[in-house]
């Protein structure tokens, strides 16, 4: 086990320092803002930085500490929040022009939980517009750059949240994952990203892309930090009917470095058949590490995990829901709107001009898939295929505790490389989508870098509700990988 690299300050250590008065929250936030000032011009991870709000909150926390009342699992910890998650008082644009200037009158459940534990929202991070994309290039405002290679994408859609952590600007961030939007950018940026079981975290305050797939989850540079934030945000919420009713277990307490007796399933779709040779090699080594930690590797090649159908099934389900979820953006009640003489042209002009190309493409696809005459062949067919995914995983998990393999079939690609080819771009999610369709918990944890220095993530998928075990398995891997707290080299330049 190696010690954390120079620039890395874990959330847990920041919190301990603040609780015990070794550092003030103000110092922490000022240092965070200073790092953002230095790095942000190169990375473009943020759409908004709440300098004044964060400092004011730090002052409140320091007063609490002085008064001896300070508590909270995230006391003084700066947290970046993806721009499709509402924070009262801050803009929520979802990286779309259609929500320019929109200030939600409430905070998301997950944000409320972070604030209740003493966390400090430092700003809103860039993403693909409404979470639709795998590179953050679909942001209406700017692309975010991968801190490991500024000419490459950070992945997406939570690219800003992953890049902010990888660049050491914040120890923790919140993202959202619909078909891989936390895990894939985590993999491409060399950080940890966790998508909980569907319903484990309330979606209240998350601007919906695809309601039956969206989940909020944490990104960070250490498993302990990620498990801490996951514990904070998970749990029931009466405002989300799809949130699980039971209280979430303490993910931190469940972390164990041992994998004795654990059966890890491997399937060629996630290992041997992965496109990129360097990724294949690193995943092979990661599986070896898991075996060394005591896990038994079980080959699942007799089970068809249906991965080749993942992208079509997912894009039909997600975009059908999206076409409906995005109908509310009409410029009449919020957002800039496009002035037009009559109602119909106000609708079409607002939506036609202020939505980006990929969003429009998906709305059209989803509208088509739900329309009469095509509903059964596309939408309903995809829902039936989704059932097959759920059953395939259930079958696989009869014999194994986890399925491990690659998060992304390729490492970070160049900015502009795939943006004009939607079908190729959609392929980026082929290994993250299946867990999304089945609502399963899955984590991406760094497992090394390619010869070009590009990070690669190991994905660990567990059965529904096995969130604590998934995090613990990743923790055991992290303990052995020696990669805990490894940030992009860029981060060390301003250490």
């Amino acid at each position: 086990m190696t010690s954390p690299a120079g620039a890395f300050r874990s959330a847990v250590s920041i919190r301990d320092d603040v609780v015990h008065g070794r550092r003030s929250a103000r110092e922490v936030i000022e240092e965070t803002l200073a790092r953002i000032d230095r790095l942000e011009p190169r990375v473009d991870a943020f759409l908004a930085v709440d300098r004044a709000g964060a400092l004011a909150r730090a002052a409140e926390i320091d007063a609490e500490v002085t008064a001896g009342r300070a508590q909270g699992r995230l006391l003084g910890v700066p947290v970046a929040v993806k721009d499709n998650i509402c924070v009262r008082g801050l803009p929520a644009t979802c990286a779309s022009r259609i929500l320019a200037g929109y200030h939600p009158p409430f905070s998301a459940h997950a944000v409320e939980r972070v604030l209740a534990e003493g966390g400090v929202v430092i700003g809103k991070t860039n993403c693909d517009e409404f979470g639709m994309g795998s590179s953050t290039e679909n942001s209406a405002y700017k692309p975010t750059r991968n801190p490991h290679d500024l000419e490459r994408v950070p992945g997406g859609s939570s690219g800003g949240s992953a890049a902010a952590v990888a660049a050491g600007m914040v120890p923790l961030s919140l993202g959202s994952d619909t078909g891989g939007s936390i895990r894939q950018p985590a993999s491409l940026c060399g950080v940890i990203g966790f998508k909980p079981t569907f319903g484990a975290v309330s979606r209240f305050g998350l601007v919906a892309f695809a309601s039956s797939l969206d989940q909020i989850g944490p990104l960070g540079a250490s498993l302990l930090d990620v498990a801490t934030l996951a514990s904070v945000i998970a749990g029931p919420d009466a405002r989300d009917s799809t949130a699980l009713p039971r209280p979430a277990p303490d993910f931190v307490a469940a972390l164990s470095p041992s994998l004795e007796g654990v059966r890890i399933g491997v399937h060629r779709d996630y290992v041997e058949d992965v496109a990129d040779a360097a990724v294949r090699a690193l995943i092979g080594r990661a599986l070896e590490t898991l075996r060394e930690a005591g896990a038994r590797i079980v080959h699942l090649d007799g089970v068809d995990l249906l991965s080749r159908y993942a992208v079509p099934a997912y894009y039909l389900v997600a975009n059908s829901e999206a076409s409906s979820n995005l109908a509310r953006f009409d410029g009449l009640r919020y957002g800039p709107g496009a002035g037009a003489p009559d109602l119909l042209s106000t609708y079409t002009a607002t939506r036609g001009r202020l939505f980006g190309e990929e969003v429009k493409r998906r709305i059209l696809l989803g509208t088509f898939a739900l329309s009469s005459g095509y509903h059964d062949a596309y939408y309903l067919k995809a829902l039936r295929v989704r059932r097959l995914f759920i059953e395939a995983f259930q079958e696989a998990f009869r014999n194994v505790d986890f399925i491990a393999g690659a998060t992304s079939p390729i490492p970070a690609f160049a900015l502009g490389e795939k943006i004009d080819d939607p079908v190729t771009m959609y392929q980026c999610d082929v290994l993250t989508i299946p867990a999304s369709l089945a609502g399963l918990p899955a984590v991406s944890v760094p497992c090394g870098r390619t010869p070009q220095g590009l990070p690669v993530g190991l994905q660990i998928i567990g059965p529904a509700l096995a969130d604590a075990r998934v995090l613990s398995c990743a923790f055991a891997f992290e303990q052995r990988s020696g990669l805990m707290g490894t940030l992009a080299p860029l981060a060390e330049e301003v250490a």
């Binding site: 159908y309 109602l343 429009k360 059209l364 509208t367 039936r384 295929v385 059932r387």
Partner: protein
């Protein structure tokens, strides 16, 4: 998906799309749908559609009014208001 279909769907979705974009989208969406046709290989007769990933059961809330509403704040986000109403372009009758 041909241009006519794209235009029809765009009308349903209230998206203004110019001719050039319509042609490009028709080509892209056709390619995407062609790719999605692979689902046809999968036999799904008798398989129940899964609208949700799990077996969630809905929970209800008691019939109680919330104390304060954010009406003022919500109206502040509305581009045009008049006498407390939301003003919209005239709906042609």
């Amino acid at each position: 998906m041909d241009r006519t279909t794209v235009d029809w769907v765009a009308r349903l979705a209230r998206l203004e799309i110019d001719e050039r974009t319509s042609a490009r989208l028709a080509a892209q969406l056709s390619a995407i749908l062609e790719y999605f046709r692979s689902l046809e290989q999968l036999a799904t007769a008798g398989i129940a559609p899964a609208a949700h990933p799990g077996d969630l059961r809905g929970s209800t809330r008691p019939d109680e009014e919330a104390a304060a509403s954010a009406a003022a704040q919500l109206l502040a986000n509305v581009p045009r208001t008049r006498d407390g109403f939301i003003q919209v372009p005239r709906i042609i009758e």
